[in-house]
């Protein structure tokens, strides 16, 4: 029997019981669509996290005082372990550190309350830093300007605020040119930062940035101690080289009594790697859940094919009596099962692709064409696999038994 004849008989078989065929299709459709959609959601959330981390600056290293082992930090710390402007100067040496593009000192003021009129709030971060912070941390302003070098030299009482602070203190009003009080000192708002959203730990928009010099004057004291040094590498491929250079430049002046480094360097790129491997696990998990629904769809195909074979036992007997070979019957029912799963798979692909254009639980899905091909292929394969048993059962019926069947 030719393929055309098999398909023709299969189409007829599918059309005989439309509702049942439709419900069977639906099982495969949902399975295939679920695989496509959930993989897309996984990819989407991975992409979203990646964008967020890249927003932090992938070329960036953060150097903090303190040992790698946090438990021992207190006992071994000495004045040596503090990071100072001297360290900034050391790292800025282009000869010793060719892969470092910029070095930005940052001081952090703890528990500072920002007040404007009757409104007040305690921002998540109050930082004193230099203009290069903007580039290293990818912090741009939507309105006004970032801190300038002249602000630094003049010890200007100006501040750049994040969107959360702006909303809390000024509501919807334009904050540029307004003033706020930080620890009793008055600062004029000169810039509003572009919102970054949350990095998963804290709201990155709940921030106030003032010039480093001003912060040392008014907020953190004149100890010369820096909270952290942000180092920007020349490119994302030189991050590791820059890290090694910073490590070797700082090690001589900052080590614990046992010779270990009294500071640690946080590498944004390695954070990215760790996160993307987490996301990979997440995507695989989602795909596995979806694959189970595909399997269930396949079992549905098998179930319906078994019912069909039983229902059409007499027809199978007639076909065999008029000369159908075992292979003809096998082909007919296998084609029917595969046809069901192909139609189901195709509608599943359409549903999956359409569905991935919508935001799902706050994630914009990113369609992976490989998952589309895989889901469709597995869907059809599942139909074929689960069609084999019923089709074989039909083909193996003895014509005399099949004809007697009522």
């Amino acid at each position: 029997m030719s393929l055309f004849e098999s398909v023709r008989m299969a189409v007829q078989g599918v059309l005989v019981n439309r509702l049942r065929s439709l419900l069977t299709l639906l099982g495969v459709t949902i399975g295939v669509a679920a695989v496509i959609l959930l993989v897309a959601v996984g990819h989407g959330s991975a992409a979203a996290v990646q964008t967020q981390i890249e927003g932090l600056g992938t070329n960036m290293l953060t150097i903090q005082a303190g040992g790698r082992t946090f438990g021992r930090q207190a006992s071994t710390s000495s004045s040596f372990t503090f990071l100072t402007m001297k360290d900034v100067a050391t790292l800025e040496n282009k000869v010793n550190a060719p892969d470092i593009k910029s070095v930005t000192p940052v001081v952090t003021a703890q528990s500072v309350t920002a007040v404007h009129g009757t409104a007040s709030e305690t921002p998540g971060q109050v930082l004193g830093t230099t203009p290069s912070y903007a580039e290293a941390k990818k912090a741009s302003v939507t309105q006004g300007t970032f801190i300038t070098s002249s602000d630094e030299t003049k010890h200007s009482r100006v501040a750049v605020i994040g969107a959360t602070v702006a909303t809390n203190l000024f509501g919807g009003a334009d904050p540029i040119g307004q003033t706020i009080q930080l620890s009793g000192a008055t600062f004029q708002i000169e810039g509003l930062l572009t919102p970054k959203g949350t990095n998963g730990i804290q709201d990155q928009d709940d921030i106030v940035i003032v010039p480093l010099t001003t912060a040392q004057d008014l907020l953190v004291g004149q100890s010369g101690q820096l909270g952290q040094i942000v180092v920007e590498a020349t490119s994302s491929s030189t991050v590791n080289a820059a890290q090694a250079e910073a490590q070797s430049l700082l090690q001589p002046t900052h080590q614990n009594t046992d010779g270990t480094a009294a500071f640690n360097i946080l590498n944004q790129a390695s954070l990215l790697t760790a996160t993307s491997s987490n996301n990979h696990t997440f995507t695989v998990l989602l795909a596995a859940v979806a694959a189970i629904s595909l399997l269930v769809g396949g079992i549905g195909v098998m179930n319906i094919m078994l019912v069909t074979v039983t229902e059409r036992t007499r027809e199978i007997g007639i076909r065999k009596a008029i000369g159908a070979q075992k292979a003809d019957i096998l082909g007919q029912f296998l084609t029917e099962a595969v046809l069901l799963s192909i139609i189901g798979g195709a509608t599943g692909v359409v549903a999956g692709i359409v569905g991935s254009h919508f935001k799902i639980v706050g994630v914009q899905p990113v369609l992976a064409w490989s998952s589309v091909a895989l889901a469709f292929g597995v869907g059809v394969g599942v139909g074929l696999f689960f069609g084999i048993y019923p089709a074989n059962r039909a083909a193996s019926l003895r014509p005399i038994d099949a004809l007697r069947y009522e």
């Binding site: 007829q12 007639i318 076909r319 009596a321 000369g323 159908a324 075992k326 003809d328």
Partner: protein, 256 residues
């Protein structure tokens, strides 16, 4: 029309054929050492009441079932030695089956039903259509080819089934109670078709329990309790089948 040639070799030869269903206590002997020979061109009616084993005999000679004991030679081939594939081949090429309940495939047009044996013979679509149309024409269903079975009367359905049985040009047509579900007019139509097919040289074996129907055959065999109890030739093998006409359709007693 020339008389069919009689060959030395019989078309069908059953030697001591028995069929036993079940085993031990529930053993049922449907056929009891039956010897039976059919020559080419014959028109045989097998009679018997329900449970006489006539359907079992029909299934065996139609290659739908195999005997438990004994030997069945179809055109000198021992059917017991054939595998599923070869049996299907014989059913496809050598035998045309007609059933009491027509056994057309539901929701499928008459033409498609008649074509089906040719589909399984892998005949090309054009030739298939032509031969199926020709068969439909012979049974007088030229105008009904696109109807589905449920739109036809019983007689029309049975004629479609006969068209399906003869479309492959088989040597033997086996009919199991072909007129069992039909009224007198349709019965006569079907019997006329069989008479024509037999005159054209085809061997016909027909099972019936009606004497009026059996009267149309050249040879009548009576079966009871799995054994042949009478075998009567009513017309010569090489002659035309008898034409008893409607007036002879009346009860008769089987000679024992």
């Amino acid at each position: 029309m020339t008389a069919p040639t009689i060959t030395e070799r019989p078309l069908m030869l059953l030697s001591a054929v028995s069929k036993i269903y079940g085993a031990g206590e529930i053993e049922v002997r449907a056929l009891h050492s039956v010897d039976f020979r059919v020559d080419r061109g014959d028109y045989v009616a097998i009679m018997g009441s329900s449970g006489s084993g006539k359907s079992t005999l029909m299934n065996i000679i139609g290659c739908l079932d195999v005997p438990t004991e004994g030997q069945y030679l179809l055109e000198s081939l021992d059917v017991a030695q054939l595998d599923d594939h070869e049996l299907a081949f014989i059913r496809s090429r050598r035998i045309g089956l007609v059933f009491q309940s027509y056994n057309l495939i539901p929701r499928t047009s008459v033409l498609r039903n008649v074509e089906l044996p040719l589909v399984y013979q892998r005949v090309g679509a054009d030739e298939r259509r032509e031969r199926a149309m020709h068969a439909c024409e012979l049974v007088g269903l030229r105008n009904r080819t696109h109807h589905i079975p449920s739109e036809l009367s019983g007689g029309q359905q049975q004629r479609a089934a006969i068209a399906r049985a003869m479309v492959t040009d088989p040597a033997i047509i086996l009919a199991d109670e072909p007129t069992g579900n039909l009224d007198t007019t349709s019965t006569l139509e079907v019997l006329q078709l069989f008479a024509d097919l037999n005159s054209a040289g085809r061997t016909i074996v027909m099972i019936t329990h009606e004497h009026d129907v059996a009267a149309h055959a050249k040879r009548v065999i009576a079966l009871a309790d799995g054994e042949i109890i009478s075998d009567e030739r009513r017309a010569p093998l090489d002659g035309p089948p008898p034409q008893p006409g409607i007036q002879t359709l009346q009860p008769q007693v089987v000679p024992v």
